[in-house]
Amino acid sequence: MPNLPVIAFVVIVMAAMINLVFRDWRINAAALSAQYLAAFVLVMLSWPIEVAIVKLITGWMATAVIAFTCLRQKSHVSSTEVASNLFFRGLAGLLIVLLIFIVAPTLHEAVFPAVDLMIIQGGLILMGMSLMQLGMNSEPYLVIISLLSFLTGFEVIHAALELSTLLTGLLVIVNLGLALVGVYLMVNGDEVNEPTERGESL
């Protein structure tokens, strides 16, 4: 399917935008899963499918770990947000996308001439959006999702530069480690919050 990378790129932009704008863990988890699937397609442009699939499996495992923890957490009940918040976060995301579209061709010519422009754009959009998300919130699960997205963006670009089994293995450890650390912090935060909440209700 020749259009598959284009579809993957569009999915990446949409998933990154959804993760930036919305703060409901169900929506975030679904977007993260779609994002990993799209990133897998872009990595497949550089790597054989049997190696590239490692990224997909790792990503989905990390997503599952976070999603199941959110499911069990009482404090992650979705709250309604003011529309202006969503609008401004969306606007910030659009600005990032615009910036990447301006910067990426120059970067492609000057630094990564051998890498497909779409790979650079996809990777940079993921990295840029996740940095924006990282700066805008301090909820453990959102921070971890943005860090995972940041790493995914980097991995999409780096896959086009180098293929190494050890590097792939180490990145798997880092991704899963990040998800587990996220779970630890979420559970930890919940344990700290619980007595306070009870105290307040009394």
């Binding site: 453990p140 590097l167 990040l178």
Partner: protein
């Protein structure tokens, strides 16, 4: 029988860590196992023969330098063994104090995993993959930093975020640098590679403005854990950074790069020093003084052409002793006082004189008080900084004064009389088991201060692992 250095100093400590984790409920047993393993590995690295052959009676063990792993190599050469001995020795030292109240049970196993990961980072080929092993060490450190109830999640998330962002910068910089070798000196890509690399290291070393997590984490974490992590991770990162200088001629011959590193170092010293002097929380002050120490490390690298790298390496052991004593005394005082706010510890110098003296002298040693461990190295660094530029020298000196000022404020608070002490000036509420480590460490600090060459010459031999930097 054949072994390899990575099996001894990477795989074996991981196994010991697993055993300690399994025995975590038996505190004394896991303490003995972990500290014995750490000190044993340190001694083995320190006294390993140059031909890497161990003879134990009839048994001869040949130790190879490399281990193949997933198609790549982890190589720990004989030249890097003094540093490995040092890291395991310091880990053992911190493990000895892991029985203090409030230290997370997981600290024993996690500290061994961290040291093993960082050791592997020093030997992995290609060396850039070390970034991932350092990231692994960072991830592993989170459970001991954010122990339940500490309320340190915000600082830890910031720490985790900045350290994670650093890793891709290092990997991309490494990829860029492989192409730089064949480029003409005027190519803009050289400067761009240096900027990307610099950003990665700035994030890793918590250089301003990426420093905010250090005081946050320091204030909330346990002093023993914090002092260990804020020592071992930046130290290994600095040694890993020497690889870049060793391998890339354009980095080690560029006066501009050294000048920038010097300037950043001085900025860190001034910034950290000023902030330390006005702190009211003892643990937060420790965080800021760590930034000063990072500044001194950068200043030493910036003075590499004048022998700065030797001072950098000589700073490591004295810093380890200072941090350990600082962490130990803070942990003891926190247990006794509950809070480490300046106002809360008034008069404690009269009740706990030896612990208080230990805390004061640990700070003074790190600050560079004459006769104490850091003084000979810091005075050499500051003198050379003045030679390089009066402004740099004066600013570094001003920054150094920050910790002195804070220590004097601390001393005044510790010795402030309170009502019940009107009739009796001194009390001795400390037990021998509590103050004996303080006294031993103070003796060590004075010994290091009086004979710096004798105690730190082993560290400078690490430079043989970096032939271009000798």
């Amino acid at each position: 029988m054949t072994l390899s250095t990575p099996i001894i100093w990477v795989v074996f400590p991981l196994l010991v860590a697993a055993i300690c984790a399994a025995l975590s409920t038996r505190r004394i047993l896991s303490l003995i196992i972990a500290s014995t393993a750490a000190f044993g590995l340190a001694l083995l690295a320190a006294f390993m023969p140059e031909n890497l052959t161990l003879s134990l009676g009839p048994l001869t063990i040949l130790v190879e330098e490399s281990l193949a792993f997933l198609g790549r190599q982890i190589t720990l050469t004989y030249a890097i063994l003094p540093f490995i001995a040092f890291t395991y020795g310091t880990t053992g030292l911190w493990l000895l104090s892991s029985n203090l109240p409030g230290v997370p049970v997981a600290f024993r196993s996690i500290s061994l995993v961290i040291t093993a990961s960082l050791t592997a980072a020093l030997g992995v080929e290609p060396f850039l993959y070390a970034a991932l092993l350092i990231q692994t060490a960072v991830l592993v450190s989170v459970p001991v930093l954010a122990s339940p109830g500490a309320g340190s999640e915000r600082g830890v998330l910031r720490y985790l975020g900045l350290m994670t962002i650093a890793m891709p910068f290092i990997l991309i910089a490494g990829w860029l640098l492989t192409g730089v070798v064949i480029l003409p000196p005027e190519s803009p890509l050289i400067g761009q590679s240096a900027i990307v690399l610099g950003l990665g290291f700035a994030l890793w070393l918590a250089v301003f403005p990426f420093h905010s997590w250090v005081p946050m984490v320091s204030q909330r974490g346990h002093p023993t854990v914090i002092s260990y992590l804020l020592f071992i991770i930046p130290t290994t990162i600095l040694v890993f950074g020497l690889n870049f200088l060793n391998r890339h001629a354009f980095l080690r011959t560029s006066e501009t790069i050294f000048s920038i590193i010097r300037t950043i170092g001085v900025m860190m010293i001034v910034f950290g020093g000023v902030w330390t002097s006005v702190q009211d929380h003892l643990k937060r002050a420790f965080g800021f003084s760590v930034l000063v120490e990072t500044g001194f490390s950068l200043l030493a690298i910036g003075l590499a052409t004048s022998g700065g790298l030797k001072w950098l390496l000589m700073l490591f052991p004295v810093r380890a002793l200072g941090y350990w004593l600082w962490g130990y005394t803070l942990a003891r005082l926190e247990h006794r006082c509950g809070s480490l706010e300046m106002g809360e510890i008034q008069g404690f110098g009269r009740r706990l004189p030896i612990l208080s003296a230990g805390l004061f002298l640990a700070q003074m040693s790190v600050a560079g008080l004459p006769l104490l461990a850091s003084f000979p190295i810091k005075i050499a660094l500051l003198s050379q900084a003045v030679v390089e530029g009066t402004t740099i020298g004066v600013l570094s000196f001003v920054g150094t004064l920050g910790l002195f000022l804070f220590s004097i404020r601390l001393l005044m608070n510790l010795l402030q009389p309170i009502d019940i002490e009107d009739t009796q000036f001194w009390f001795l509420e400390e037990k021998v088991s509590q103050f004996l480590p303080v006294i031993l460490m103070l003796v060590a600090l004075v010994a290091f201060g009086l004979f710096p060459g004798f105690f730190t010459s082993g560290m400078t031999s690490i430079l043989t692992a970096f032939p271009q930097l000798q």
